[in-house]
Symmetry: C2
Subunit: 398 residues, 2 copies
């Protein structure tokens, strides 16, 4: 058509307000040669059980091919929900029925849908500060406001939470990542978990427990999940860190009314999760592959965490602080008075990438920290990358 008026596309208010995620942009730079990236939360490709997946796929395709390639149910593959309920009972003492579970396109879809079904635009929720940047973008995409609660080495500070609840008494939920938190690496203590549930129960508030890293404990004693302590908690798990993020498969375990709302939302968002992914995961859990693989991943990551911390000791100025997590994928590096946003441009020039700490704060400006992923890079690159960051810190010394 030639004689047309220009198309006047007016996007929605939400679309105009949405910003590209800092991490997704980072992934593009990260693919350039010689760049050492501690940015994305990527598992190490060495942790992927490729040979197991080859065998599983071939067997499942031969046995269940016609179902594996067909539309699945919105709640996901029944036999996987059965396997997950049994595993959560055994490993975490969580009492759930298979019908209390819905499978999602990674935890990201779960986070997005939980925001959507719990909160109207303009309403607020409570999160840790800092918190997972993907949660911030998921909630912002529904126009939801976040109230951040400061953390210390035992997790979310309960005195601050009580204080915030005076000003914000009706949050739609309280969202926490109790194990090896993203980005801080901090694990919430048992005492803190009890207190959080007490506060929530006193007020009838919903707690959402995001637990992508719980299985990746390198050291220290297991701490009970919030969900095992209170079955009203909404629990999020994922296969991204213990199998493959490429299959996009997570799950939510929750009270029946929550799962039902998520199911209806998912019908609108994408109908169902990939059946190929759910069949692979089902065989991975039920065939004993997962129990065999997790210790290997832990060994690999523990060693990388140790190497990165050792490199901090060797190459960072003495006033740079960092967490020493017992598991997960991230170290949180802080220097009082630093501005890691300003440092970032120079870091790109020096070909070392991190995620700026400010990206993780839901409702405040804080530029003193950076998140470093220790799982993805080779050992050589961990040392070299920390060395580059160390020089950068030296160059910006106060």
């Amino acid at each position: 058509m030639s004689m047309n008026a220009p198309v006047k596309r007016e996007f929605s208010a939400i679309a105009n307000a949405m910003k590209p995620s800092a991490i997704r942009l980072l992934l593009k730079v990260a693919n350039q040669p010689d760049v050492i990236s501690f940015g994305g939360g990527l598992p190490n490709p060495e942790s992927f059980p490729i040979e197991d997946i080859r065998r599983i796929f071939e067997e499942q395709l031969a046995r269940n091919g016609k179902k594996m390639l067909q539309y699945g149910a919105t709640e996901g593959l029944d036999s996987l929900n059965v396997a997950l309920a049994a595993r959560l009972k055994e490993k975490e003492g969580i009492n759930s029925e298979p019908t209390d579970i819905i499978q999602t396109a990674g935890s990201q879809e779960a986070l997005y849908m939980l925001g959507k079904v719990f909160a109207n635009p303009g309403e607020y929720v409570i999160t840790e500060a800092p918190t997972y940047v993907g949660t911030i973008s998921a909630l912002k995409a529904s126009g939801i406001k976040m109230v951040g609660v400061e953390m210390d080495h035992y997790g979310m500070r309960m005195d601050v939470l009580r204080e915030k609840l005076k000003k914000y008494p009706n949050p739609k939920f309280i969202y926490v990542i109790p194990n090896f938190q993203n980005p801080s690496g901090i694990t919430m203590s048992f005492e803190r978990r009890k207190e959080l549930l007490e506060i929530a129960n006193e007020r009838g508030l919903t707690v959402i427990e995001d637990d992508p890293y719980g299985a990746l404990r390198f050291a220290g004693a297991h701490v009970p999940t919030l969900k095992s302590m209170d079955n009203d908690v909404v629990y999020l798990g994922t296969f991204s860190k213990v199998l493959s993020p490429g299959i996009r498969l997570g799950y939510v375990v929750g009270p029946h009314d929550v799962i039902e709302k998520l199911n209806i939302a998912k019908q609108a968002v994408d109908l169902a999760t990939s059946s190929v992914s759910t069949y692979i995961a089902q065989a991975y859990v039920s065939g004993g592959y997962m129990d065999k693989q997790i210790p290997k991943i832990i060994d690999l990551y523990r060693q990388k965490r140790d190497l990165m911390i050792e490199s901090f000791v060797n190459y960072f100025p003495g006033d740079v602080e960092y967490t020493r997590p017992n598991g997960g994928m991230f170290l949180w590096v802080t220097r009082k008075g630093a501005n890691t946003d300003k440092m970032f441009e120079e870091a790109v020039k020096q070909k070392v990438l991190y995620v700026v700490g400010s990206a993780f704060y839901p409702d405040e400006d804080n530029h003193e920290s950076m998140r470093l992923n220790f799982t993805f890079s080779s050992n050589e690159n961990i040392v070299e990358g920390v060395k580059r960051l160390g020089k950068l810190f030296e160059a910006t010394a106060k």
Copy 2:
């Protein structure tokens, strides 16, 4: 925790308004033994190229395993966008760059995100009436209103569209399924397509062309896609009907600003599409498997369409009308004065399922029709199912 106040979960207004999709509910009944389902829009499992997929997966895993199991880019696999742009140019005369394309978790996610980025809650869009039930649920989930435009055998009626635009002059977009429409099976004529684009261009309106069935033409001449006639059109394609719906993979081809908004929305909704699915599809397209498979699917479905229409002739009362589509997956059956919603309960008892026509109307009550899928059932079940429906029509004769 024992001494807790009951959790007071107040869901969002959207969550409280959302209804389970008629089709998703249907899928549960459809799995019962002896039930003949013409309900879901399921491809026939015989159409799945299982042996090709086995070979593709093994090759891709060996060659690209570490990328195939890792997080992918939000826009999807680059080489698949390259292959899609080339294919759309060759088959449809669509001029697009790989960067004009984003891969999505089936077309459903594309429909959901397009609503979200184009319209604020309470704003409206224009659709055919009837239209795809998944589009209705996707848009309703963002609080978007729909204005339906009546169809005839040449597609959306342009006189009615002009009339509606007087009352609703600023729709955020016009959504159409020009080829073998779901649910009606109707193909929009070339003249009608030209007129639609003229109307849109006069007013600067965005047109969204959903084309899941275009490749499945059994008879008649190809009609140019709207996108090939006007590159401002936003075009939706999917692998669900030409490879597998279980891999959940669709794509959007559109102007750069639209693709960018979708990309940012997708970062919030699920980060990226399954890399496993994108690698399978890339090899399926580029390896020539797709061109080999589509004629087989067409042969299978043409024969099933013919058998179902033949069965209508044999078993339906003379006052039952139906479309005779040249492709796709659906027949639209209408009886003046019938109420297919009321008939449905009896149909379940007789173990034959359809989707009630009322589910496809965006803004009116219309109970005279039903949608029948002819691709999924065995030939034996097509005859037997139509026979059962015929008896039902007879029993409710006026």
